[in-house]
């Protein structure tokens, strides 16, 4: 789950990392008021869940409250990479001498959290990684000790950061504490700024949370912004489905993430385009299948549905019952193809006899059939 910059900065500040004073505004009037409270030059920053806001024109300076009003008016409502700006952060402008990068990520290969620090901050770190990889120092953190000051100081030295060594190391130590403290997936300060008078300040912050850790942080879980996601993804979440909205027209439903991914691949391979990923999970009962079909049917892009089930702990006949209910109630009005195998396969096939479902013995045949059907409709 993504947090906004201002939310990430609140977390960093709580862990003792210096951030420029600021507040979030939803209207130009509010921005003006905050700017006058700050009483100095401010920066107005679009709060949307994407990076590169600066380049996109979503980060601008304002010398006084009136200018803050004008700039906020420009940025609010702006579209950045497909997202509408609904709020801005109004923060004191830092007097920047140097821009560095500090970040923490989960590194799957080493099974550790890795700290990355670079002299080349303020720019996209992936670009630095591509063009000048030696400019990034990487350090694997021991999960049982956390990042200790001596390690942090060495990282600062190895990265060649110029500025107060102890202050810089302190920010790194606290960044890891914040990361572990909120169960983050990713935490970045970019840029980490050295000001003209030698202060170390986190001028931008980004934190993505580990969804699996959210139960430990109910206060942060509340920050999820439903409007930032596809409405069907939000609804799927309420049902507990793993669902991803895709841009095609074939609705997909299956049991098990691997099988559903495979089903998407097959539909693609035979020239179709899936409208979604939907995994009903293990051991699903008829009502779960019924709800899953209702969700898929709500998607106006869906012109046909492909149900792919391999019964294991999930019984194919339970799935069939859910499908039949959805058909009988007229929930699904587009063609449905189905392939069932495994536990209770025969029972399922018997139940589905005479129902308006096209049954196929293999996944690939079913994929070809549904793609032909949605194509034929055009």
């Amino acid at each position: 789950m993504k947090l906004h910059e201002y939310q990430a900065k609140e977390i960093l500040a709580k862990y003792g990392i210096p951030v420029p004073p600021g507040k979030v505004a939803y209207t130009p009037e509010e921005a003006k008021k905050i700017a006058s409270e700050i009483g100095k030059r401010v920066v107005i920053k679009a709060q949307v869940h994407v990076g590169g806001r600066g380049k996109a024109g979503g980060v601008k300076l304002a010398d006084d409250p009136n200018q803050a009003y004008e700039v906020a008016k420009q940025i609010l409502g702006m579209n950045i990479k497909g997202l509408t700006v609904k709020k801005v952060l109004v923060a004191e402008a830092a007097d920047i001498a140097k821009e560095y990068y500090a970040g923490l990520i989960q590194d799957r290969a080493s099974q550790r959290v890795v700290m990355m620090v670079s002299r080349e901050g303020g720019v996209d770190i992936e670009e630095v990684a591509r063009e000048n990889p030696q400019a990034i120092v990487k350090y694997k953190i021991d999960p049982h000790t956390g990042l200790r000051p001596f390690e942090a100081r060495q990282i600062v030295l190895d990265a060649g950061l110029e500025g107060n060594l102890n202050k810089l190391a302190d920010v790194l130590v606290k960044l890891y504490r914040a990361y572990a403290g909120v169960d983050a997936f990713l935490a970045e300060i970019n840029p980490l700024v050295i000001t003209a008078d030698g202060q170390v300040v986190a001028v931008d912050a980004k934190i993505d949370l580990d969804d699996n850790g959210l139960f430990r942080h109910p206060d942060l879980a509340e920050l999820r912004e439903v409007e930032a996601e596809h409405p069907l993804e939000v609804e799927a979440q309420n049902y507990g489905f793993a669902y991803v909205k895709l841009d095609g027209n074939v609705g997909i439903l299956g049991n098990g993430a691997g099988l559903v991914m495979y089903t998407l691949d097959l539909v693609n391979r035979v020239g179709g385009k899936p409208a979604n990923f939907l995994d009903i999970g293990g051991g699903a009962k008829a009502d779960v299948v019924y709800n899953a079909l209702r969700l898929i049917a709500k998607d106006p892009d869906v012109e046909g549905v492909f149900i792919n089930i391999f019964g294991g702990i999930t019984r194919a006949d339970e799935v069939a019952k859910g499908v039949i209910r959805a058909l009988d109630e007229g929930v699904v009005k587009v063609p449905v193809v189905m392939r069932v195998a495994g536990t209770a396969e025969e029972e399922a096939k018997k139940l589905l006899e005479g129902k308006p479902v096209y049954m196929y013995p293999t996944s690939i045949e079913a994929a070809k059939a549904i793609v032909a059907m949605v194509e034929g409709k055009k």
């Binding site: 989960q106 799957r108 290969a109 099974q111 550790r112 959290v113 992936e126 021991d142 999960p143 049982h144 572990a180 169960d183 997936f185 580990d210 969804d211 699996n212 850790g213 139960f215 430990r216 793993a242 991803v244 895709l246 299956g254 049991n255 098990g256 993430a257 691997g258 099988l259 559903v260 991914m261 495979y262 998407l264 691949d265 097959l266 539909v267 693609n268 391979r269 899936p274 990923f277 995994d279 293990g282 391999f310 019964g311 294991g312 702990i313 195998a341 495994g342 536990t343 293999t362 996944s363 690939i364």
Partner: protein
């Protein structure tokens, strides 16, 4: 067969819960030697005739345990795995889905340092066909035979096993290693075991997008594997940056792309199946 057989004595952690008790019944029916269960605070009870203890240590005073399977809820699952490892259980199978990643980072490091093998989390477990099932897979689709399977997915594994069994090839041991980003055992940890196993004639590797475990497996195969391997990768049409059901199934930047995995396997001379049926065809072909 690798890791487990009909003599493996199994402990079930979280045995009194809905999942734990359901799958204990299923495992017993399969023939698995479930000797004890643990649920803190419920010691002294019985589940399907299996005695329940308050801790792994107490269970091990009365029983010899070769493997533990964990059905404990996500918030306590890593702790349960550590409990088993510290009590001296040599093989820990972590079924639970949704464990906080940082819990796993710490637990995996500590469990490895203890010399214990951890499989999972977020996995279906493992099965040696006809001998023992320490997991949640439908046992009947696994017929004893010649092929080992290692997989990041659940259902797809059952599909592959069923197809191999229907084709008369059958399976030796099948290990579901799990769909999370941080897991205890990866492909390249298990390939050497299959390489040594006299019964296994070929290995099927079922990977998916995300991470670089497939690439590491391919590199190992290229250097050391003496038996044919067939690979399968799901999520080849998945969009970047989206989690496809599994916490670990996500393409991040240039890492975890299907192209990179396909290339790695091709470099290692490992044929890649595009469909489940093709897995069977390719295995047949490689076995001659």
């Amino acid at each position: 067969m690798i890791l487990v057989d009909k003599n493996t004595r199994v402990l079930v952690q979280g045995i009194t819960g809905r999942e734990g008790s359901f799958h204990t019944r299923q495992m017993l029916d399969y023939g698995t030697r479930v000797v004890a269960g643990v649920t803190p605070g419920k010691g002294g009870q019985e589940v399907h005739g299996v005695p329940v203890y308050n801790s792994v240590k107490e269970a091990m005073k009365d029983h010899q345990v070769d493997a533990s399977i964990i059905f404990v809820p996500a918030f306590a699952a890593a702790d349960a795995a550590l409990e088993a490892a510290h009590a001296g259980v040599p093989l820990v199978v972590l079924i639970t889905e949704g464990i906080p990643t940082l819990d796993m980072v710490a637990a995996v490091k500590e469990i490895k340092a203890l010399g214990v093998r951890l499989i999972g989390g977020n996995c279906p477990g493992l099965i040696s066909a006809g001998e023992t099932k320490i997991g949640i897979m439908p046992g009947h689709v696994f017929k004893r035979g010649r092929v080992g399977i290692i997989s990041r997915s659940g259902t797809l594994t059952y599909e592959a096993a069923a197809a191999l069994s229907d084709a008369g090839l059958g399976t030796t041991t099948t290990v579901g290693i799990g769909g999370d980003p941080i897991i205890g055992t990866t492909f390249k940890d298990l390939l050497p075991l299959f390489n040594q196993d006299p019964e296994t004639e070929a290995v099927v590797v079922i990977g998916e997008i995300g991470g670089s475990d497939e690439e590491e497996a391919a590199a190992w195969i290229k250097e050391h594997m003496q038996k044919p391997v067939v690979a399968f990768i799901s999520g080849r049409s998945a969009p970047k940056g989206k989690r496809m059901g599994h916490a670990g199934a996500i393409i991040m930047g240039d890492v975890g792309t299907p192209e990179s995995k396909v290339k790695a396997f091709e470099d290692a001379g490992v044929p890649i199946a595009d469909t489940i049926d093709e897995i069977v065809e390719l295995v047949k072909k490689t076995l001659g």
